[in-house]
Amino acid sequence: MRHRPRGEHIIRFDSVGLRYGLGPEVLQDVTFALPSGSFHFLTGASGAGKSSLLRLMYLGLRPSRGRVTLFDKDIAMTRRYELPALRRRIGVVFQDFQLLDHLSTLDNVALPLRVRGVKESEVQKHVPELLGWVGLADHLHAKPPTLSGGQKQRVAIARAVIGRPDLLLADEPTGNVDDHIAMRLLHLFEELNKLGTTVVIATHNQSLVDRFSQYSRLHIERGTVVEPE
């Protein structure tokens, strides 16, 4: 992990707009900057554009207009072969988990390490350790279809954080787990944040946001980022 001095912007959006095909803009004039090492909740009503914004942030989409700067790189000017290196610095917890059903829990979590070419001995050392931390030590070889929703979510989170990313993006990461597990996961994110990872958590869960009120909010309304009420 290549942590930056706290305070420098790790990601910046300038007048970003996004439309799918020829449809209307789902994001309009989105402008914000997130300092390195910061912790944010991304809030907003369902359909407001949270997932689209996250997709732009994890380079799953290109903006229709405006400028996205990630790790000091203007994405529009970045060559395609340079993008995987940027993506490896981002951990993503997808709303629908996107686990690979044919792979075991261990292999799912190991994926980010394997695509980087990490030695298998290192993979076999770190992945079970992290899975133990998220309470899945007994499910190393289980396939996702045999796991509960909460267990899947923890596997998805473990996969997102195994590479100790500079930027962690999580789409409703506590949506399917009980309060106890939710708090445990949030503390995991806090620990990562203390180590320098910038964290953005998209959530509907107002009580969670209230409980961690020390962290700033990025509120999205009708496709644009506004000051939270």
Binding site: R62, R87, L111, P112, V115
Partner: protein, 296 residues
């Protein structure tokens, strides 16, 4: 390569089932075409080698009672003339028995054949480095020995060589076509596989996998399928070629030239499964790269 880790569940794909059989058929057809090209090339080379540096002098038989003696005299004269000509190494008249032996594959050995007025032949060896004016030699021979003509084999040999070369090019075109069809099939199978595993590919892409990391997995699978299919094709081609070789040897006896495949030919045919596997692998790799380049 065959046992490298794969994050994509490619082993259970429906495309995996038909691709080896198609490659098997392609390798089988390629093996037949390659054998054809190599046998023909060998044949042309042998003809060229056997015939270059030789001439045949034909003496028409003289009819009548004293004809045989007269014909024998003309043969002797012609042979003597040829031997005296600069650039001629040897002139060997064939007796009637040898001439009949040459004709036996076509006319058989019946008694009636022996009574036919067959021309007498003189087998002439020419120094290939000598600048022999064949036209002048033929004129002199015609003047001095009535009924004598020279056949330098070039006309029929050049026609045979042209036919063989054309057949070789057709066989090469067939092999290129087979390669193209194999590649097109691999492209289709790879694209289908990518479509089936779109979700997995997207996840790998988003967690930072390079295109080649994904392409390599498809390429490894295509290599494995291509190789197994190629081995099946080879297993079918070897008995076929052996049977053709055996059948041609049975009808040889001078009528058909030897159609045996040289050892180098068997080596080339033995390499066809590897070539098919490599073609499949590179085609799959290029296909995946081409498709992934459209992702953000």
């Amino acid at each position: 390569m065959l046992s490298r880790r794969s994050d994509l569940p490619l082993k259970g794909d429906a495309t995996s089932r038909f691709l080896p059989w198609l490659v098997a058929l392609m390798v089988y057809l390629s093996a037949i075409a390659v054998a054809g090209v190599l046998v023909l090339a060998g044949l042309v080379e042998r003809w060229d080698h056997d015939v270059s540096g030789t001439l045949t002098v034909q003496i028409q038989p003289v009819p009548g009672e004293a004809g045989e003696l007269l014909t024998e005299d003309r043969v002797r004269q012609a042979a003597e003339l040829m031997r005296r000509t600069p650039g001629i190494l040897a002139a060997r008249p064939l007796d009637k028995r040898q001439t009949l032996a040459l004709l036996e594959p076509w006319l058989g050995s019946a008694e009636v054949v022996k009574d036919l007025p067959l021309p007498r032949l003189i087998d002439v060896s020419v120094d290939s480095s000598a600048q022999l004016d064949l036209g002048a030699v033929a004129d002199r021979l015609g003047r001095m020995v009535p009924g004598a003509t020279i056949d330098d084999h070039r006309v029929w040999l050049s026609r045979l060589i042209n036919l063989s070369r054309t057949t070789e090019w057709v066989a090469i075109a067939i092999m290129l076509l087979i390669g193209f069809v194999t590649s097109a099939t691999v492209v289709y199978a790879t694209r289908t596989g990518m479509s089936v595993h779109r979700g997995v590919i997207e996840v790998l892409h988003l967690i930072g996998a390079h295109d080649d990391y994904i392409a390599r997995q498809f390429a490894d699978r295509a290599f494995s399928l291509g190789f197994s299919g190629g081995m099946i094709g080879l297993a079918m081609a070897v008995p076929t070629l052996t049977a053709i070789g055996w059948a041609t040897r049975r009808v040889e006896g001078g009528f058909l030239p030897s159609l045996a495949l040289p050892l180098s030919g068997w080596v080339v045919i033995g390499l066809l499964p590897v070539l098919a596997a490599l073609l499949s692998m590179y085609t799959a790799r290029l296909t995946v790269h081409g498709t992934l380049s459209r992702l953000p």
